[in-house]
Symmetry: C2
């Protein structure tokens, strides 16, 4: 078993090699934004989960490290394109590519990263290549579907909680799940175990996104790294908002809708008001319970995998840390 | 040997199957624009060249038909994203996706098509999978590089003819070349012959793009399917313009620059004026000679392939038709 620090080092080394290779590539207007994006940092959660999953089955993690990097490049490609669609000015406290350069460059650098991600995922061992690519492309399609659903929700009047869970399942979770499944496949896991690890990742991902929703409102703004309440300001249909609309009586619902539909409102005031409605309705505790439910469901899948308990504990440890994060 | 009509039928059948499969996919806001794009039609040149190349080596074209469709989907994905960047309102006389829907949907439907193109190219025979994917991803990266160079040229004062040829080589030709090479690989061609067919496709592609430049100015607007002179109106740095700037004396150069830099000019008048400068300088004949040079260079590569002359004649016939097109 490799410890987490060692796995993280493998990824950082590979990523640095890749980033350095971009320095000499032409046209630089295409490659500079790619290097910029990857240099912004991040938890490198997807490649880490990929290597941990490979390690879980005592696989050779050096076989998985190139595909792992491919997953990180893919994730960053989706951020690049999502930021255009969301008109986001900042990413990790730095200007987004479409702001620092322009949307055309963000589209095209993103497309290029997409191809590069395939080039890395393709470096899976030949024996597993087809299976890995099947998981990867299925995942990539689902991520696009999730992003489209998210955009559709903006103009959709009634979004149900199951629809919301489906959307975050596609937009966020399948990539965590797919990353782990690819690691398991490269680690020579049996098909049923690779599927268990996929389900673990899928449920963990949903729990993770629900926590994101909670932290956006109730996290400490310093630790979250952005102003809290951004989702409230933009009327984003999160689990908290949808649950509040479900729970509220007629009067509270009207109050909530008034805050959502009034323009030119002071954002700090709006966040405080909506937050106090959430507190009144107790939706934070409900969201936490939902999050816990998905996490525990994930664990039942992990428990069914007949592998070394030490390896499993490392994964559980990593997941618990994710679930207890404050940002 | 399969005749062209039979090969075209294979592609049309596969494409129709794919298009029908999109009908039931959700979210429909993601999949409708994909079906719309592919329904707009087109010459299906890339999949055809792929199958012809496979056939040239007496390969089994049914092995190549899924990757062939992947190449067509990939090409249409690039059109979708290029149209956003070029702010093009029309494609094949119909509104472009970013106009009919919106740019966000065009970005995301394009991304989805990109994944779908991989899913089809991945259906190459296992024996050749890695090699095919290497060619495909290298090609895809180069197409992005070519598009970026084209965008860079817009604000670049001095673009040389060799730079221009390099740009169209990447933006247009490598996909024709790569399509043929993939067909040859699936047709079990020897490595050197697959490379010859690649070079044939590359040179044919450059000749094809030079002809596009000529047709935009000197083609019949009815046959071209769009107003002639669009490149002149938008000051696009084509072979004709770059050659004219090279050839012109000080006075003609000033005249040309005046037309390029004057805003609020009548487009019909501008097209006529620039066209008459082109005629005065004889750049049409020079462009045609350049086009012929690349085409003949391509043929020397084709000639070095030791295969059935009948098969070769079919390819030459197809290429000659391309070179003599009026639209």
């Amino acid at each position: 078993m490799n410890n987490l620090v060692a796995l993280k080092k493998l990824i950082d080394f590979e990523l640095e090699e890749f980033n350095n290779s971009l320095l000499n590539k032409k046209p630089s207007s295409l490659y500079e934004p790619i290097k910029y994006t990857l240099d912004l940092g991040g938890k490198r959660m997807r490649p880490l989960l990929n290597l941990i999953a490979c390690d879980l089955f005592d696989g050779n993690v050096s076989d998985a490290v190139k595909p792992a990097l491919g997953l990180e490049i893919f994730h960053n490609f989706t951020l690049l394109h999502d930021d255009i669609m969301d008109k986001a000015p900042l990413r990790r406290n730095q200007p987004t590519v479409h702001k620092k350069w322009n949307p055309d460059i963000a589209i095209l650098s993103g497309d290029t990263m997409f191809v590069q991600s395939f080039q890395y995922v393709m470096q899976s061992p030949t024996l597993h290549l087809k299976e890995v690519l099947d998981v990867f492309t299925k995942t990539a399609i689902e991520v696009c579907e999730g992003q489209q659903m998210d955009m559709d929700f903006e103009s959709q009047l009634n979004v149900s909680i199951p629809q919301y869970i489906k959307m975050i399942g596609l937009k966020t979770s399948v990539l965590l799940a797919g990353s782990m499944k690819i690691g398991a496949i490269i680690g020579n896991a049996r098909a049923e175990d690779a599927q268990h690890i996929y389900e673990f990742g899928k449920n963990l991902g949903i729990a993770f996104q629900l926590q994101d929703d909670i932290l956006d409102v109730f996290g400490s703004s310093q630790k979250v790294g952005k102003q809290t309440g951004g989702d409230i300001v933009s009327n984003k249909k999160t689990y908290l908002l949808l649950k509040a609309m479900d729970m509220a009586d007629r009067y509270k619902k009207e109050e909530l809708q008034l805050w959502m539909h009034t323009t030119n409102v002071d954002p700090v005031e709006k966040v405080e008001a909506v937050k106090s409605i959430y507190e009144y309705l107790g939706v934070k505790a409900l969201a936490e319970a939902e999050m816990q439910k998905f996490y525990l469901k994930g664990l039942t899948h992990l428990n069914q995998i007949p592998c070394n308990q030490n390896n499993k504990d490392q994964l559980i440890n990593f997941a618990e840390n994710l679930m207890q994060r404050e940002s």
